[in-house]
Amino acid sequence: MFFSKLRRTRELFVVIKKSQVFQDLTMLEWRRIESIMHERHFQNGELVFAEGEEGMGLYLILSGRVQMARNVDNVLKELGQLKRGESFGELTLIDGSGRTAQAVAMENTQLLGFFRPALLDLMQREPRIAAKVYSRLAEQAAQRLRRLLEDKKLAESF
């Protein structure tokens, strides 16, 4: 029982090391925050969340594939497909805003949910770990902003 739990912790650790948000965590730190993560299972074709929905946080893909799509003039436009080790929903985690895209599981998918209450709890309890997570979240947000600005510049130059 204990060993199987430890093995699971290790398995999950391999995946979170690949993710952008949690890559800085050590095994020790991961073990301290593992209990606030939610493992969720989604079946092929199941909606993870819909666009515009009030959300609670981010999901990290443990296994399977997730398609991100957006409603553009009533036509669903695919933004891309995410695989093991990638995460989505970071913006909602930061500011608690609504979902900006929809996420659908493309096969049987195992997700790890990390939600705002857990982040707030982490800030109280483990400020060092919270700082690591937050700096990576900020980095990701900055990258996206930069990309958006470049896209816009590119669009204006045409």
Binding site: S35, I36, H38, L47, F49, E54, G55, N74, Q124
Partner: protein, 371 residues
């Protein structure tokens, strides 16, 4: 939220029905629900120090163990002092005296009033009062034995409640996670939100109630000490404990204090010494003290400690006291406000989430539909 999407009456009905169900189940299965609820309350009161230690870098287990160790030390150290201050032998001697003196005072007042108002004589109050007090004095030993035996019945509580609370503190997060694991995916995030908000509100409410009672009890105790009442510790503790029962509790506590102060004027009273006020009016000063504490509680402590988030309608509070007292006895009375708080908040947030405005997704394809 728009006003019409907040069905107050419906929510009240839900709250009262749930209260009735809760207290009925408490009546049937007090042996299991009592400890669980008490452990739940203990968990919320003890988790801030545990979280604090954990934030300092200790493991969860060590944090809980240290907090428990501190609790044990405090009770071991303060135990003898409390017993010494309470002085059970003295109390045993004094209680009949308290009753007799209170009866005498009441009798004197009544005689005085009968002399003034004729119609009171017809009511035959004095003989009734005398039979009541003599019977109370005679039956007192039986009551005491019953009371002590009843308290002994709660002894397993003293062991089992900290035991359950220990595991709540240790695996609290794991428990919470397990509790919502079974929620289907489509409701999961809403359930999580409900769970989180309720958790925060309950924590704030229970901790607020605890701190409020602590301050009120201490204030009353210190005040009584200054007035020279010997049983100030016992009365302070009772005042703090009764404070949890709204409206009725403070009244009963004040009544106890006044009855005791009629007899107990042996201690040194700082108040009469420094102000030169006549000592025979001490019961009146006690009454004033309790009124002042009550005012201070309502005007300063409750707004600061509890915040506005837990505002419950007075009518709802009275209904909760009725349900608790009728169905759960003394335990029900004490648990009335905490359980109302928990149930009230749960429904409030549940209704808030359920009556959330639903946004239209995308635009309507009217054109294709009509042509």
């Amino acid at each position: 939220m728009s006003p019409h999407s907040n069905p107050v009456i419906l929510r009240w009905v839900f709250v009262v029905v749930t209260l009735i169900l809760f207290f009925s189940s408490l009546r049937i299965a007090a042996w299991i629900i009592g400890p669980l609820v008490s452990a739940f309350i203990m968990y919320y009161i003890l988790s801030p120090p545990v979280d604090f230690l954990e934030a300092k870098g200790l493991s969860r287990t060590w944090s809980v163990v240290i907090v428990y160790f501190a609790l044990v030390i405090i009770s071991v150290v303060s135990g003898p002092f409390i017993v010494h201050w309470l002085d059970p032998n003295e109390l045993q001697k004094n209680v009949p005296q308290y009753i007799q003196n209170a009866g005498d005072t009441l009798k004197n007042t009544l005689t005085h009033m009968e002399a003034k108002f004729d119609f009171l004589k017809k009511a035959d109050l004095i003989p009734k009062l005398m039979t009541f007090t003599t019977r109370l004095e005679k039956d007192l030993p039986t009551y005491v034995v019953k009371g002590v035996l009843g308290l002994l019945g709660y002894l397993p509580f003293v062991i089992i409640v900290p035991y359950i609370a220990f595991y709540f503190l240790l695996d609290g997060r794991g428990f919470k996670r397990e509790m919502i694991r079974g929620v289907p995916n489509r409701f999961f995030e809403d359930a999580l939100r409900l769970f989180y908000k309720v958790d925060v509100q309950i924590a704030q409410f229970l901790r607020g109630l605890f701190i409020e009672s602590l301050i009120v009890g201490t204030l009353a105790g210190v005040g009584l000490k200054l007035l020279g009442i010997d049983q100030y510790i016992l009365l302070g503790v009772l005042t703090g404990l009764f404070n949890v029962v709204p409206y009725v509790g403070p009244l009963v506590a004040a009544l106890f204090a006044i009855v005791i102060s009629v007899t107990d004027q042996t201690g040194f009273s700082f108040f009469t010494y420094f102000t030169g006020a006549p000592a025979q009016y001490t019961p009146f000063y006690v009454l004033v003290l309790y009124i002042l504490v009550r005012l201070f509680d309502d005007v300063v402590i409750i707004p600061v400690v509890m915040g506005k988030s837990m505002h419950m309608h007075p009518l709802l509070v009275v209904l909760a006291i009725f349900c608790g007292g009728e169905l759960g006895g003394i335990l029900g009375l004490i648990l009335a406000l905490p359980s109302l708080g928990v149930i009230h908040v749960t429904y409030q947030i549940l209704f808030e989430i359920l009556s959330k405005r639903r946004e239209v997704q995308g635009t309507l394809a009217t054109k294709t539909f009509w042509t």
